[in-house]
Each structure stands twice: as structure tokens, then as C-alpha cells.
């Protein structure tokens, strides 16, 4: 009976998740160009797409950039989300209640629009950011945020964090509200300081939700695309080539090697999957 009840969701999952994953794997070991797709005939290509991938320095650089991007964005999101969620959790302050709503605004902005907005803000001569910093006397000369290979990747992380942070705040804020007040009262009776209460009560109880955020945000950050497209298009040079951009360019720019693009996407999915398993094991082992 239980199996029967689960069948619809299993079928849906198989259709929307398992099949695309299987199909991407299938494409990755076949020769797939536009002509092959049109004909519907894909010659078996063995591991040649993977071999091509692993020989390509740009692929490794894209993975490296993706890892840096993911580490920076996910770390920053977790820290900021916990801090902001704690602030807006102060329900006695009316400003917290207002902020709770305002904080959601960036999440409503489409990623590509977000990228374009920040592209204007980063403009070297006329950008809002340089104008503010210059007027405030913080910089003497405009900074080429998105056009300098040393800063470009980090410049792209900021709009990404700005857009996706509300999601993490929302989850952590919800988790905070689920922590029983008695625990804090008991800790206070025992003489715990605010820091101790946070360190020994709040943080351990937030661990499961942080694990969820880590998994979700890592997988999304690994697939970052829109901000790259709108702000740097991988440049300057290859400074902001990330894995999803690489897959896109290989698949959808001439000569349209969709087989190799699928192989690249598959490698990316494997990495994200492995990281997700690692996170879950680490976090739940600690809880146990």
C-alpha cells in the first residue's frame, strides 16, 4: 500500500529528475551536434567527450573559478544570513518587522536583470559604485571592478550574494523561530552570555537548516550563469569562466558540441552531488 501511495511521486521524480540525468549521461558518450540532433541519430563516441574535456585547460580553470565563486558566495551567505536573521528576529523592534519584508526584495529580481543592474553599477567611468566611493573620498581613481582580472570574479560574487541571500535569511529566520524560548531562559539562568547562548544553543539547533542551505546554495552557486552572462561574459580574458558558462559555450556556440557540453555538465553534477553527500554526512554526524 505504501509503495502504491508513493508511486505518483516516484514517477514524477523519475520523469523530471532521473530521466534528464540519464539522458545527459547518454549524450555525453555520443557524438551530438546539431545535425545529429536533427537526424535523431547519435553515433557512439565512447569517452572521447570526457577526454576532450579533461585535456582542456579552460575546463579546469572554469572548475577552479567555480570552486572559488562557490566558496566565497556560500560562506558569505551563511554568515550574513545568520547575522541578519538574528537581527530581524528581534520582534520587539518595529524596524525588524519592516526589514523582514524589505529583505525579500532582491529575491524577487530576475537574475539576468540583477546582472544588468550591477553591470551599470560597476561601470568604470559612470558607475554608481565608483561615484559613491569617489565622492566619499574612499578612492582617488575609479576602479575597474568587472574589467580587471584580479577583481572580476569577486565583483560577480557580490550581485549573486545580494540576490540569493534572502532565501538563506528566510530559512534561518524560520528555524530561529522554532527554537524554544525556554532554552535561552535556562541558559540565562546558568549565567550564559549572549555569545554563549548563540554558540551553544542557537548554532547547534541551526545546524540542520544550515546543512540544507549549504547543499542548496552550493548546488546553485556551482551552476551560476546569469550574472556571468550579464556582467562579464567570462572576461576579461578567462577570469570569470565558470563551469556553467563553459558548458553553455561548448554546447551552444559553433561548432555546437552538445556531447562535450553534456559531459561537462555531467562532471559538474557529479561534483555537486558528491559535495551534497559530504555536507549531509558531516552535519548529521555532528548532530548525532
Amino acid at each position: 500500500m505504501a509503495l502504491l501511495m508513493n508511486l505518483p511521486s516516484l514517477a514524477v521524480m523519475a520523469l523530471v529528475l532521473a530521466y534528464p540525468i540519464y539522458y545527459a549521461g547518454y549524450l555525453s558518450v555520443h557524438k551530438v551536434g546539431i545535425a545529429e540532433i536533427r537526424r535523431g541519430v547519435f553515433p557512439f563516441y565512447d569517452w572521447q567527450n570526457y577526454a576532450r574535456l579533461f585535456e582542456d585547460e579552460l575546463f579546469w580553470l572554469s572548475l577552479q573559478n567555480t570552486a572559488i565563486f562557490t566558496f566565497v558566495t556560500v560562506s558569505a551567505e551563511i554568515v550574513l544570513a545568520v547575522a541578519i536573521a538574528l537581527l530581524i528576529n528581534q520582534s520587539s523592534l518595529w524596524t525588524s518587522r519592516v526589514t523582514r519584508w524589505l529583505i525579500l526584495l532582491p529575491y524577487a529580481i530576475p537574475p539576468i536583470a540583477n546582472g544588468l543592474i550591477w553591470n551599470f553599477m560597476y561601470n568604470f567611468q559612470f558607475g554608481f559604485l565608483n561615484r559613491i566611493l569617489f565622492t566619499a573620498g574612499i578612492i582617488g581613481e575609479p576602479i575597474n571592478w568587472a574589467g580587471n582580472p584580479d577583481t572580476a570574479l569577486y565583483a560577480v560574487t557580490v550581485p549573486y550574494i545580494w540576490r540569493t541571500l534572502p532565501f538563506a535569511i528566510l530559512l534561518i529566520h524560520a528555524a530561529l523561530q522554532g527554537i524554544p524560548r525556554e532554552l535561552y531562559e535556562a541558559a540565562a539562568v546558568d549565567g550564559a552570555t549572549a555569545w554563549h547562548r548563540f554558540r551553544h544553543v542557537t548554532l547547534p539547533l541551526l545546524r540542520p537548516i544550515i546543512a540544507v542551505i549549504l547543499i542548496l546554495r552550493t548546488s546553485f552557486a556551482f551552476a551560476v550563469f546569469e550574472e556571468i552572462l550579464a556582467i562579464t561574459q567570462g572576461g576579461p580574458g578567462d577570469a570569470t569562466w565558470v563551469a556553467a558558462w563553459y558548458s553553455y559555450k561548448v554546447s551552444f556556440a559553433p561548432p555546437f558540441n552538445i556531447g562535450a557540453g553534456s559531459a561537462s555538465a555531467y562532471v559538474l553534477a557529479m561534483i555537486v552531488g558528491a559535495l551534497a553527500i559530504l555536507y549531509v554526512k558531516l552535519v548529521y554526524r555532528r548532530i548525532a
Binding site: A146, G147, F252
Partner: protein, 458 residues
Amino acid sequence: MVADFTRKWEFSRRNFLRSAAGAAALGAAPGLGLEGLAHAAEGPWSAVPKSKVDKLNFVVWTYGDIYSKIAAQFEKDWGVKVESTISSFNDHPTKLVTMFAAGEKIDVSQSSPFSFPAFIKQGLVEPLDGLPGVAEYTKDFTPFTRQVAVVGGKTMGLPYFSAVWVWNYYADMLEKAKFSEPFRTYDELIEQCVKAKKDGIARYPIQWVAGVGLEQLPGTWYSLTWNRGGTFFDKQGKHQLGPGSIARETLKWWANTFEKGLDIADPESLKVQFTTSAKAFGAGKNLYRGPNHHYGLNICNDPAQSPIAGKVKVHGFPGDGKTIGVTHVYFLNSAHRDKEWAWKLLQYLGGRTKDGNFTQATNLAKDAMLGSGYNTVMNSDAVAKGWAPWGDTKKILEIWSKASYIGEPVPSVYEPWHFPWTDQLNIEVQKTLTGQITADQCCDNLIKGIDTAKRAAR
């Protein structure tokens, strides 16, 4: 199939002429518009296809409202609805091939000369030979157009527009810097820019078009190299990027204008495309705008878009003035729904409309300062008078006369591997301009990349 279609067309044309003659014999009044019909009957563009379609479509990249206008005219003339899929220039190949791969019907599409060999190889392009009127069109092609649209002796497309690479300068700033005239040599260009920077006239006297693209950053390097007497490949396909080559020395010179060298080049150069560069130049912060498509003047000198409108002048290349040019094309997609009608629509975009006029090409010249791929249009008032509001037409045409098709310095444009190689070129050259690698390393990497690109395109 082509022969069948030609026969069908001849048949319908005979019918049509017979009907027109009959109408004339009946003494139809001028008020009925038969003069127009008689004129229209002069060519294949006005023949009514025998087959029936309920709609047609094209997949193109965006340019103002030209496509909504021409689609409306087609619907009005032929009573067939035209649907359009329009994306940005850089996203167009992706859009087109994904639609094609998904099995969608596409009647007409568009290509830059750089994607065209890949589209042909992937089977997206239907040859036009044998279709009614093709021979007449081909005869009227300009030399640039012929080099793109005629592949292996077959006509594969009709021209969208042509452009040549020119320099721009901001006349008021030139005067303010007390230079009597724009540079005549590359040394003079550097001298003027260094002085303008030193005198506080412009923090970054020169803005290059060095944004990633198929012909933006690459076009700047190609045109500078060609003007200095160099090429990227010889006629046998051997690269010309080795030590001491003109392309390599040109890149060294170019990179030296950026931050790690003379620091006279605007850092935004690395992000701007043709249009964004024209808009940025319109802010009046730079003295020179590096070589790029001539029609950028219609932005720089448009009062609605540029605070320095009317002050931006066109300038030719130093020395013998050699420059490069390009033609983009429309083509009949092999995924068309009906060949007769697709050909009809293709002519509206890249040839003649029902009235026998080059409507689209003429409007593009008058409204957007674009050059045409047809001699008829290039020699018409559409260009002579149409370009005048934005620039010195005579001067531009003089520069045009010294232009060679981009395939001369870069014969790889005829090869499907040119596109993936250009991807690498964009990366390596931007790394050079930002001082991450030297011009020597860049050229060495590009030489190595030729084989990789060839393998990728296989």
C-alpha cells in the same frame, strides 16, 4: 526540387502576366493601381506562389524596429502572417541552432560571416541556386557580399548589410588639445594621446572596441594588422602569428596602450561592443574611438543619444588607408515550411519587396547608416543622402574604397573552426591587454589553439 519550383514559378508568372495583360486590355483605370502591378510584374519578386501557407517565420538578431516593419509590409502585401524570433547578436547562433535542433520550422534566418560556415556544415542553410531571380541578385552583389554569400560556387544567402572599419574622433576635444588634425601615423596617434592625457584633456584619450565578440575585439586586431600590411593566415592557410610577424607586433603595440603600458586606453574598452562603445564615446570623455563599424556614427552623432552629437568625425586608417569590411547575410533555412514562400520572405529581408524595390536595404541605409550588399543600393541616394545626417558620406565611401573583405587578412573565416578559435582569441587577447600574459605568449597560445579548434569543429 529546385527545378520543380522554377517551373512552377514560370507557370504562375505566365498566368500572372496573362491576367495583367487582360486587365490592361480591359482598360483598367490608373486608380486601381495597375501601374504598380505592371511594375511589380517585371520581376520574380512579385510572382504569387502557387502553394499556400498560413504563416512564415524568421529568426534574427535585434536591430531597432526593422523586423516589425518588414513583417508588417509582408503581411500587407501577401496576406501571410510573419512571426519573428529575435535575440541579441551574440545569442543568435544559440537561439537559431536550438530551434533547429528541436525540429522547429524556420523559414529564414540570418548569419554573420563567422558563423556561416558552421551553419552550412550543420545543414541549416539551403542553397538558393535555381530559385527565380537569384542570378540577378548575385550579379548585383558587391565584392564583400560575393565572398560571404557565394560558397563553393553556390549562392547560399542574400546580404543583410555591409560595413567597413573606420576610426572616429571627437572634433572639439581635438581642437581643445590644440591638434590641427587627427593622426596620420600610429606614432602620431600615440603622441597625441599621451599629450592629451598629460594636459588633462582626457584621462583616457582612446577607447578601443575590445569587448568579447566575433568581430568586436578580433576586428580591432584584424583591421590594425591588415592596415600595417599583415595577415593572420596566408592563402595556403598557414598562420602568420610567429615571432616578428606583423600581427604579433601589432598586438604588442596595442597592448602597450593599456594600463600596464602607456595607460591611455579606456579600461571600459574591454567590455564595449559596437553599439555600447558608440554610446560611451558619446559621453565626450575620449578623443579617439578605435577602428570599428562605420555606422556607429549614427549613435555618436544622434542628438537623442549623444551629448556631443555632430562633433564626432570619421577618420581613415594611417598609411595607405587599407581597412577591412564585412557583410552579414540572410539565408533560407533548410527547416523551412514551404520553399516558395520562404524564398519570398527571404527576398523581403535581403532582396526586393513586391514592388521591386530593395526596401529593407534602402531603409537600413537611410535609418541606420548601414551599407548594402548590393551595388544598386550602394550607388543610390539611399547611401549618398541617407548617411549624410550622421557623417561625411564622401569620406566614408573613400575609406570604403580601400577596404578588403575580412576574409583577406583572416581566411580562416571561411572555415568552421574559425568560431571556436575566435573564442580562444578573445580570451588570450584580453589577457594580453590586461597584462596577464605577453603578446608573444598570446600568439604562441593561439598557434597551438588552431589544431584544437580544428579538432573541436570536426
